[in-house]
Subunit: 195 residues, 2 copies
DNA sequence: CCTTGATCTGAACGCACGTTCAGTTAATAA
DNA sequence: TTATTAACTGAACGTGCGTTCAGATCAAGG
């Protein structure tokens, strides 16, 4: 046997991505085999190599696409002049965006050490660009006397860690709706910066 | 060849633990082989099985010991009556304790999915007990009107995520000393609870 | 000094891994 | 209808995996 009925790269490619993302998130990159991914897609393992040069590229592409998606989505958000409003926008956006794609977020945070040094550097640079957006808001608010904070860079790390932490416990089926969580975390963020 | 000169379980056991911890933290549990651990210790792979029934137990024991250590250390801390002072004690303790053992912390957070369901439940229970200490402080401070917070449980998760985040960027060789970081994060924590 | 038990070696087990590739079939263009 | 290309199969490659175990050597107590 060979080419199968209905097979098409425009269909198979996203299914491979989805299978890899789901399996990497559940079991971890190192614990997932190419054969498992192929089985989830419904092809033989060799077919995967029409779509990726190797296993690591599968992981790298997932991360880069996730971070590109994140940056594009942030750029599409309004950026109010007022630092407090800008901070609220960022906090709410961060929670909403991350809660909507827990698998991609999980992988992007947990599998960094499985990247080659060059790939790691690229991913880190993308993440840095995102963090810089928050740092800019904090620096502006501090300069305008609205925020009572110390080092804006440290504050950035603290806020992002706090907000991203939502993904470790939030479940759609839990007692709180996401918009309630969003408001609770915005309240905490606001107080954290002295507002 | 067989038993080697100077070999003793009291020496080999901790060296196996240390090697496993170091390698798991650096490369991840699934990516580390028993042969790598043995090589780091300087024995053949078979010798490891005098000390652990299998690979997973090595991971589980590291996690449990870390969490036991964490609870014992917290219990050894003074617990002031005043909620604000108690919170300061907790925040500073958390940062100090975690910064001192980054490998154990990293493993305890990243390798949960490599545990069997029973082992996972045990580790989760231990972590919950630790979190409960912070929740108790927050609940008391809220009842006494000192803290301006919402749900104490959510606030617990937010604070712990923020504080633990220090480990992702702090380096001994960086521009900030740990006691400076400690104070910065305590300032943020205090403001977060409305103090 | 001798015995006993602790400690480790060296080899082996079957299995799964990532990757490659010649060959085969389906889709598509001419 | 035919020729071409896209998509996939099936089998194979060498390697490393976790775990087991009989046997060899060392440490320690009497």
């Amino acid at each position: 046997m060979a080419r199968t009925a209905g097979s098409h790269s425009a269909l198979t490619a996203p299914r491979i991505r989805a299978a890899a993302q789901s399996l990497f998130a559940r079991h971890g990159f190192a614990a997932v085999s190419m054969r498992q991914i192929a089985a989830e897609v419904g092809v033989q393992v060799g077919a995967l190599y029409n779509y990726t040069p190797d296993k690591q590229s599968l992981l790298f592409d997932l991360m880069v696409d996730h971070l590109d998606d994140l940056m594009r989505a942030l750029d599409a958000e309004p950026l109010p002049e007022d630092p407090m409003q800008a901070l609220e926008g960022f906090a709410r956006f961060h929670i909403r965006h991350h809660a909507a794609r827990p698998e991609a977020v999980f992988i992007a945070y947990m599998e960094l050490r499985n990247l080659s040094p060059e790939n790691f550097a690229q991913v880190e640079a993308l993440r840095h660009r995102y963090e810089d957006r928050l740092t800019a808001i904090l620096t502006r608010g501090q300069a305008e006397g609205q925020f009572r904070i110390g080092d804006p860079r440290i504050t950035t790390m603290a806020i992002i860690a706090m907000l991203t932490g939502v993904n470790t416990w939030f479940r759609e089926t839990g007692r709180l709706r996401l918009d309630e969580v969003e408001t609770m975390y915005w309240d905490m963020t606001r107080q954290l910066v002295g507002g």
